[in-house]
Symmetry: C2
Subunit: 308 residues, 2 copies
């Protein structure tokens, strides 16, 4: 289908190619969205409704082995011929896309695999609009006929929490180290987690760590979601992977999933409208304008914002 | 100054009365903002710049004794003739303003005190716009010539985190009970806390609880803020209050405070602009419209939002 890439004329033609599972055109479509290039909205507005692709978020502090785990998950999925797309997001190193090179190399084994698509997403120094872009890209990728989309994020911050709203299921990866656990808790990752993976489970204290997590997830401490499941893995040896995949499958069958997708849809719509209406506002620019205004005389916040 | 209340003609006149420390007019101004009554923006746009009033957020799970603690804090502040305003927010019981009655009664002793102003804020069933309203009300109250504004919130949720952005200093109140601690952690309150108050410190396990908190607050786990301080209190007996007030004073002198106020100002401006531009959108209404649209045929999120 490579000829498409030379003759592409319009968003509609690109979308047809994406729907025909042309991966080069999918990659090009993602770039159009990343750059908010002319015509990208036309592509998005042409997307057919998709109710089959399942989106899995994978997050956790740096160094816990997320990429190795995702790699092992993809191995399991390809065993049963599941088509999988992986989107890697690293908002913590916004000025240097090369930061993702490590991940790319680690997952390089999949680059020629017909059922696997990998893409690192450029974040261009700003989290403003980032989750809207990831939302749009995820919806475009769905059109590529994947069974699963795995969105891997690298940090413990606001963007991880935002992305969890796009996922049908969120996996938080930790290692048996209370520092990581505390960071994850403080950032609110406990609230968004459906499954905890305790990776590097051959480390000492792994058993006690899992018990602590289980205590924390007891129903009396959790909100509306069912308590998160906990799986121990050693991703480098693919240990614990069948158990993880089984838990994922069960959770994706949970009766509350449709309800969550429904309320997630309204939330996504709201965020897209915010993003659209705020696209002319940059927070740093705003801070500069405020400083300038303060130099010129008494500052009144409400008078200041009345100009916007 | 009671005659003002009968003759008030305009927002400018009301603001003059507020600046002259007419508390009845301050209460009326707050109601105007709560109801987004005609002319309330005029009042806000007339506010003089204020750099002296310090805003303290007090939050924590229900039942930890926040109102009793705030009451004791006000006792300490009035000892040194500090003028204090208390704003009570309870977004967890949106349909029933009577929920705050208990707090009102508990703090009733202050209602005739010339240096203390107390107001419960109605939340009217929605957190959308709530933090913008609280921001506006806080700024109006500043004009009343207070040294301190204490914003007390009742739950562990998103609104608590949002309100921390309005405060110069945030106090999270807990009791020695790991259930509360876990709830607070999961909701992200650890991230916003400058001071932990461990109230009801005569309970067993109080010492161990404080040690656990201290571990969690070690510099390697905290972000840009200095690690939160921890104070043990028994608010009903006013024990620990002098220590708390001293810690508050020290924190309010911290060199990073001006920087935080500056970045908070840009964030506040951003939120006000979002709120202004999104005032026509209600999330529940949006969800209903999406359902309706789905009944009529294949649903495309981007086509749907293009109408807004």
């Amino acid at each position: 289908m490579g000829e498409h890439s030379e003759t592409i004329q319009s968003g509609a033609a690109l979308l047809r190619a994406v729907l025909a599972q042309d991966r080069r055109m999918l990659a090009r479509g993602i770039s159009l969205i990343e750059n908010q290039a002319r015509g990208y909205r036309e592509i998005l507005e042409g997307l057919p409704e998709n109710t089959v692709t399942r989106v899995i978020g994978v997050t956790g502090p740096p160094g816990v082995g997320k990429s190795t785990l995702v790699d092992a998950m993809v191995s399991e999925l390809t065993k049963t011929s599941k088509k999988t797309a992986i989107l890697c997001v690293d908002p913590s190193s916004p000025f240097h896309q090369g930061a993702l090179l490590g991940d790319r190399i680690r997952m390089n084994g999949w680059h020629d695999h017909p059922e696997v698509f990998i893409r690192s997403l450029a974040t261009r120094g700003s989290t403003g609009g980032l989750s809207a872009r990831i939302m749009e890209i995820t919806d475009l990728v769905k059109a590529g006929g994947f069974d699963f989309i795995i969105i891997e994020t690298v940090g413990v911050g606001q963007i991880e929490v935002e992305i969890s709203g796009l996922a049908d299921l969120t996996i938080v990866v930790l290692v048996p180290d209370s520092g990581d656990e505390i960071q994850a808790m403080k950032a609110g990752l406990m609230e968004i987690s459906d499954i905890f993976v305790v990776n590097k489970a051959d480390r000492p204290d792994s058993e006690r760590f899992c018990q602590d997590l289980a205590t924390m997830m007891r129903p009396e401490y959790s909100g509306l979601r069912p308590a998160a499941g906990i799986v121990k893995t050693i991703a480098t040896k693919k240990q614990g992977l069948p158990e993880l995949m089984e838990l994922i499958e069960n959770r994706l069958k949970a009766p509350d999933l449709e309800l969550r997708r429904k309320s997630a849809l309204a939330e996504k719509a709201y965020q897209l409208i915010v993003e659209k209406r705020m696209s002319d506002i940059d927070k740093k620019e705003l801070a500069r304008k405020i400083e300038l205004s303060q130099l010129q005389g008494p500052f009144n916040l409400y008078h200041f914002v009345s100009a916007f």
